[in-house]
Subunit: 628 residues, 2 copies
Amino acid sequence: MNDAEIKEKIYKLTEQEITSETEAELNKLLKTYPNGTIGIAQINPIAGNLEYNTKKIVKYIKHAQNIGLDLIIFPQMALTGFPLDDTTAKLHILIEENVKWLKQIAKIITKTTALVGFIEPCNNKTPEKYFNSIAVLKDGQISKIIRQSSVYNNHNFNDYKYIEPYTTKTTRTIEINGTKYAILIGDEEYSEQILKENPDIIINCSSTPAIVKEERKKMKILSNTAEKYSTPVIFANQVGAIDGISFSGSSRVFNSNGEVFACAKQFEQQLLICNPKFNLGKNYHQTYDFEKAEENTYFSLDYEADMERTYKILLQGIRDYFDKCGFRRAVLGLSGGLDSTICAVLLADALGCENVFGISMPSKITSQESKSDAEQLANNLGIHFTVAPIKDMFETTNNCLQKIFKTAEDRWDCRYEHSYTSDNIQARSRAMFLWGVSNEFASCLPIATSDKSECYMGYATINGDMSGGFAPIADINKTKLFALAKWLNKNRTVKNAIPESIIQKRPGAELAINPKTGKPLIAEDALMPYEFLDEVIWRIENRKEQYNDMINSEFLYEKNHTISKEQKIEWLDKFYRRMAGALYKKTIMPPIILVDSENSCDKRPITSSKLNFKGHSESETGAIISEL
Amino acid sequence: MNDAEIKEKIYKLTEQEITSETEAELNKLLKTYPNGTIGIAQINPIAGNLEYNTKKIVKYIKHAQNIGLDLIIFPQMALTGFPLDDTTAKLHILIEENVKWLKQIAKIITKTTALVGFIEPCNNKTPEKYFNSIAVLKDGQISKIIRQSSVYNNHNFNDYKYIEPYTTKTTRTIEINGTKYAILIGDEEYSEQILKENPDIIINCSSTPAIVKEERKKMKILSNTAEKYSTPVIFANQVGAIDGISFSGSSRVFNSNGEVFACAKQFEQQLLICNPKFNLGKNYHQTYDFEKAEENTYFSLDYEADMERTYKILLQGIRDYFDKCGFRRAVLGLSGGLDSTICAVLLADALGCENVFGISMPSKITSQESKSDAEQLANNLGIHFTVAPIKDMFETTNNCLQKIFKTAEDRWDCRYEHSYTSDNIQARSRAMFLWGVSNEFASCLPIATSDKSECYMGYATINGDMSGGFAPIADINKTKLFALAKWLNKNRTVKNAIPESIIQKRPGAELAINPKTGKPLIAEDALMPYEFLDEVIWRIENRKEQYNDMINSEFLYEKNHTISKEQKIEWLDKFYRRMAGALYKKTIMPPIILVDSENSCDKRPITSSKLNFKGHSESETGAIISEL
């Protein structure tokens, strides 16, 4: 075999199931490269579950030793999983225990050196802190510990609150079989200090979340570092989801020109074998979605480039939340609308159709089309399905409430002329059914089907459609969900599982009749066109725009439709008013999968909802003060 | 008048309503002290509501000028309110706008210098950050800005994520009428650097939350600083609640011996006038609760010393959340049990009895005593009351669910033999009524009455008793609630409003019948004795104890009762198992008032609930690994 054939053979073998035969064969083939062969263990840990993570790490180390690697690299905090957020604050047993496990892992080390991320006690600090450290396991012991020297303040996690930067200057390199490796942890940057140690290869043990901007930035920094210092850079990343935070894996090796010459799969566990010296390494992706989806400077309805990434994050998010928390089954309401439809498809794909139960819960407002669309969808997906009308629930609740309202009315003169009470009874009756199924059947979670556009607007009922054990699509806006529906119909193995009429109809909650039309109220009439709404959200999240910025620039919607300035002001005012009111609802949402948001912590304090989003001119502030 | 009489007169006047007459009189009297007279403006801001806060600040400054103060001091971030948490991340208009308002405030300054806390743009940072600054307003302009130089990492807030420490060494003192003042912001400590500037007085503009340990620590540091440097220290603190975080005020002046010689009221807005040079200053409290309640080294059921503080935090918490969010009325279920009873009393005291609606919602399990206790309580408090049985709701929901279960059972073979479905239907039916009233009547919030012991155990129903717009007592454990009930009966104007039988009966949700007794299930039988449970929580929160620490030390409960080691292990195992399962429920709780917890951020990631709380011995870890 020539070199190319050997490499191809090695990669074929790594893709097969591990057996003593494949290990023996790999061991033989890898001898072609006398030193410097490395395994990047892109693992999916469970936050806080030390035994589970240890077993996984040990399995990979044993395999690495069996095939004769010099070095195996795990992600940052591989032993504990990342993020831990505030877990360590109350349960600092985690810190002591992870050291115990680490010591035991060291004992199995014979030939291969292992870099294992863990959290190291840092005892003299109150409140208790830890170092974000990498243990160098060699010859049956912890031979060295490298500690993160600067802590990057990421808005998505609380972990850095508890991480103490290690500021003592110590060596940051290790030597294995004549090759010198420098180790960077997380978002630590390469420094002149480390350069002085003259490493041959730079390793970055990381847990970089699958947020487009973050991943893109990270890759640029690593590529630049490799190029600037003419040194290969190895990026070992975590994969999997912890609550709503996703990690794509995408571990990579950059050559000394800063070019990617090997990269791991996305959203899958993998041991990626490479040897920069001998150009051993496979590219599982030429480009990644986060690179394909070039940074948009304008809002666009063309979501095509981001569909695969979106789908994979959603699937991984559902799978990991269910698996890691010990759930297997999901129950959801099927309204025949877009949101519940997308949720049903995702759940069927993530959990298996036999584990998904869809319930159509029609009221007198529900159209015949909605009912048959829901049933058609369930049939196409092969999920369980039943129909449970809410008529009795609605009537009983309404009767009881009218009695209560009569008494209350005698005492309080603040009864609304037009209330949402009747709409909400319907949504809550449905949630009663779903939670009932969840209570009665083992390992079953009810699903909250709210989408991002509606969450922003508070257009969901507390204890109703907003309620559930998990909210898969709460970070995806409505226009993107339409695109996703079309993409799913084209790209899933079973084509066109989503009935076309679901994609065609204009969304509405079917909770109330529009007095003007005599038909169920359309959401866009109650709110504003989704195309406009989603652009407002996009501008706030991606361009940090404020009210006045938006008033003064042209929206995509305005290019396609003529709207008056007054109309635009009315919609923007409504947006800010509703967003402020929805802040509280956001704080009681079940866990959501972060897909498009950069920041998961945007909720509190609720009392800040009285902030004036429009701001004041100088003369206005002056006038208000002089009136005092 | 002699000096003592003048001082007394001054303090009498400051306690009266401000009129041009009282101002003129104060102005005349304060002339006795030719310079160095200072006002500490202990204000209650609304986070993010710049117009509201500005108006308040301007009112105080005008008053200070009218009575001829040299200096008026506002708390840290007085203009924006504190904490802002993640508000600035998405709504950075707040940063620009607060500068606009500050400039306008400066214009009204004529005679008195004002120290106003605000957030200052720090433009070169991504993600956007700000300085935590104090503006020195003098002669119609911002004459100087002092910036916080080190940022303390407090577990309760996210603010420091966005605060950039100002590391440039600049002068930290200002001079007014011959007196030199040094300014410290928040938890900044006094330094040798500042000492070199030779200040006559040290000022600390702060927002220290009303957490016993935090306040105690703060006071010690300030007292020590005053003594060590023989320099008076002025502590200006925020008062009021922002969501669940309380501030007690308790602004103070320490003399150069480190003794308190003036201190403001607790839980009230106030302008405290003082002049350390002339010993002008009044002590509104000789000791504070956080000092009275000496640090307990052991768990105790004697809560007496902490009752007043607890009551005041709860009252302020309810009042401020309702006021600041624009609510006026509350509706709650009255079960005749302790939790809903305490909530009703607090709501009546905080909102006025005319704004509280109590609904008794009996089921067939509800005892006659519970029903009459609930009614008696409502009568005693003078709140509105009605009875709304849930029989129809229960039957309808149950009928509908049984049909659904039948279908599901055909598909899924995982139906529980014993489920909590029937218990939960009852709790959720009640929540349906409360949310219905909230939807139908203006400015009305339903109340979640869960207590801390039960929240830890997940002993509350999602969309049932756990659900509501606000959860006042979710940070107070059950044994403390019993003490509070007795204290309220003794100390409220209307004595014994809480029927004695409510305090005497053993708590139970009255959702299910105990098959062993044929009577409603008692919570302690389902969980464990509250005295034991509350000590576990106390040990975790106050002593950071872990499972093994607790196994090996004696509980108060064990002093009074003989229990076997097996029993203790069973309870502790149950505690940790239930606590892990309840983690998710905690994340969807409505806002709670922090009273006893040190840390509001102890919830995520939910997936970390698989953490092994007991840990492993070295040999166990070794054995697990060697089995792989």
